[in-house]
């Protein structure tokens, strides 16, 4: 813990400084989304990354926590209860926990496909009931609240998103800290053990079901906290926040970021939030890009972006990282050419009569020249990548082999 103190301080500092840099309404809005999604993705990682439980229905706990939080906001507004807005995430967390205790009591008996299927089934059931029980879930329009009615918190009434950001950042920090600490406890470590080898875990005295159940409850709790933050931030919640799409999205985040690493889901949440809020403004095809990126990640970076960074650990430890910079750059140039060409082709094929502005060029779908330019670009790029690959591979091998030799020498 002591060794990591600088990391945590840096994290806290980043949380404080970021809204000063990205201070537009949009910037704050994106940061707010990130706080929510990071907590949610981390909680998902407790299941899949640390506990080996593949869930297709994690949004249930997020959503239920969120719904109850919005109802709590309304109770506060109606002065039925007196409660500080700042503590609403606890309401969400409690609801997430209760739901997880209930559902986990029968779903954690098995992991693997059985668990995954139960989570899918439960998810669909809850979504369906959310449309049936319109009083609680508000039908397809959801329920709305207002965060400004509670007793002010040191004079802050949370009128502005920026004020909400700091509340979210506080909870993000707390939740991240607790989730990290959880991995350092007997229950957290045994979750890893059960993930790795459930059979052996039983023979060292642990009920795998109980171990999974505890992780499951903790994941539900933090998902609920994220749901509570969602409620404060958006002051409303709808059925879509507990459906399969949201569950799939958090799976995507955790996976793209890297399941095996604590920081992975954070990376994934940041990447996906940015893509979702920025890319969609530039291209109707952004979901296609997202899908392609996801598949490529599964195929070529099975340990996600965090895993990719961690791959360089050996090279780093032996101060050979520098060897890789040039080969990376050399590959990056044709790669970006290829990407530019590829994206251009996709966009152009969807332009119809419109003109595609492309690095100062105006491309039209009915001009063969336009297609030619893009195809050449993509082709040259692909060829360039192919040609530069051997060099990159050699450099990679060199950086790591040398590292191994040095290791051997030390022994």
């Amino acid at each position: 813990m002591k060794k990591q103190l600088p990391v945590w301080l840096g994290f806290a500092l980043a949380l404080i400084v970021l809204p000063q840099i990205f201070d537009s309404v949009l910037g704050i809005s994106i940061l707010n989304q990130m706080t929510i999604w990071i907590i949610f993705a981390l909680s998902y990682n407790m299941l899949l990354g640390q506990g080996g439980m593949l869930s297709f229905g994690h949004a249930v706990y997020f959503g239920l926590g969120g719904f109850m939080s919005v109802h709590a906001l309304n109770l506060i507004a109606d002065e039925i209860i007196v409660f500080s807005i700042t503590l609403i995430p606890l309401v969400g967390g409690a609801v997430g926990l209760i739901a997880a205790v209930f559902i986990g009591s029968f779903s954690t008996r098995k992991s693997g496909t059985v668990f995954a299927m139960i989570s899918l089934g439960i998810g669909e059931l809850i979504v369906a009931s959310s449309l049936i029980f319109a009083d609680f879930f508000g039908g397809e329009a959801g329920v709305t609240g207002d965060r400004t009615y509670g007793p002010p918190f040191f004079g802050i009434e949370f009128l502005q998103d920026a004020e909400v950001y700091y509340l979210g950042a506080f909870w993000l920090f707390v939740a991240t800290l607790f989730m990290y600490l959880f991995t350092q406890t007997p229950a957290g470590r045994m979750a890893n053990a059960v993930r790795d080898n459930p059979e052996r875990a039983e023979f060292i005295g642990y009920s795998t079901r109980r171990v999974r159940f505890i992780s499951f409850c903790a994941a539900g709790l933090f998902a609920g906290v994220a749901g509570g933050l969602f409620a404060i931030n958006y002051e409303f919640i709808t059925e879509e926040n507990l459906n399969a799409l949201t569950s799939g999205r958090v799976l995507l985040m955790a996976y793209i970021g890297g399941l095996g690493f604590f920081i992975g889901p954070i990376v994934g949440a940041v990447i996906l939030t940015l893509m979702n809020s920025l890319l969609s403004n530039y291209s109707e095809m952004w979901m296609l890009y997202l899908g392609i990126m996801f598949l490529l990640t599964v195929l070529f970076l099975p340990r996600g972006f965090a895993g990719f960074i961690m791959m360089h650990q050996t090279a780093w430890q032996n101060h050979r990282l520098g060897m890789l910079i040039l080969p990376y750059l050399i590959t990056a140039i044709p790669l970006s050419l290829f990407l530019a060409g590829f994206v251009g082709l996709i966009e152009l094929s969807h332009k119809g009569d419109d003109i595609l502005p492309f690095f100062g060029l105006s491309l039209g779908a009915d001009s063969m020249l336009s297609w030619g330019v893009l195809l050449t670009l993509a082709g040259t790029g692909a060829l360039g990548v192919k040609l530069s690959r051997p060099r990159l591979n050699a450099a990679w091998a060199a950086a790591n082999t040398v590292a191994k030799d040095a290791d051997g020498d030390a022994q």
């Binding site: 350092q184 406890t185 229950a187 045994m190 790795d196 039983e202 005295g205 505890i214």
Partner: protein
């Protein structure tokens, strides 16, 4: 009173009877070996005792209490630890974590999620002690899946004995090892089972006769003899049924 008592234990899969009316008493402190030809049901017997399988009939008692048909973790908590024929560790966790996890229950940590492992000095020291004993202290932080085979077997032993169980069951602990590795392993087994009760399945007769106080011979799911090594060597039925098939490298 015996530490472990098997009374008329039977196990069938479908219509096939694998273990047939096995009765056996193991005394506290005894080093007991189970030998027998391939497919005799030795591993099945281990699985019955350790709770991986439920018995079809009969009873198993440990320290005077029935343990048959309890889940494996209940049996483990009562002081029976076991290793596996095929290495069965936590491959993505470090060597140190493997041992520490194996220690957790016996050290009373149960499912606690409020204690930080990094701060449990006693626990960590103990884990390092075991690493020292099994000769893996210099690999402590390596993911255990990356260990060499013999080292993984050593870790397998370490995980089995870490809990300080009263009864330790080892399933072919030296299978697949070279001679020198096997020697080290035997020394290790002696060291770590010092003062404990041991049941061991092993094909290597030198090791069996070297370590065991008593030997049971299992053939086609039945125990045909239980006796001291000397008497087993001279037992005609054992000769007939089994010793002709001793692996050549024995």
């Amino acid at each position: 009173m015996s530490l472990l008592t098997l009374d008329s234990v039977c196990k069938s899969f479908g219509s096939t009877r694998i273990i047939n009316d096995v009765s056996l008493d193991i005394e506290a402190g005894e080093k007991h070996a189970i030998i027998g030809p391939n497919g005799a049901g030795k591993s099945t017997l281990f699985h019955l005792i350790s709770g991986r399988y439920n018995v079809s009939s009969g009873t198993i008692g440990f320290q005077g209490k029935a343990i048959h048909n309890l889940p494996p973790y209940e049996i483990a908590r009562r002081g029976i630890a076991r290793s596996f024929q095929v290495t069965n560790i936590f491959p993505r966790m470090s060597v140190f974590e493997n041992i520490r996890c194996a220690l957790l229950w016996s050290e009373g940590y149960r499912y606690s999620f409020w204690k930080l492992l990094g701060r449990q000095k006693l626990l960590n020291d103990k884990a390092f002690d075991i690493l020292e004993q099994i000769g893996l202290s210099d690999k402590a932080q390596l993911p255990s899946g990356e260990l060499a085979y013999a080292q993984q077997r050593a870790l397998e032993l370490g995980v089995a004995v870490a809990s300080g169980a009263e009864l330790i069951m080892l399933d072919e602990p030296v299978a697949g090892m070279s001679n020198s590795e096997a020697e080290n392993a035997v020394a290790l087994i002696r060291r770590i089972t010092e003062g404990k009760t041991l049941i061991m399945v092993e094909h290597d007769m030198n090791i069996v006769f070297d370590i065991a106080d008593r030997i049971s011979v299992l053939v086609y799911g039945e125990i045909i003899a239980t006796d001291t090594p000397e008497n087993i060597r001279g037992n005609a039925r054992v000769q007939e049924a089994y010793l002709g098939e001793v692996p050549s490298d024995a």
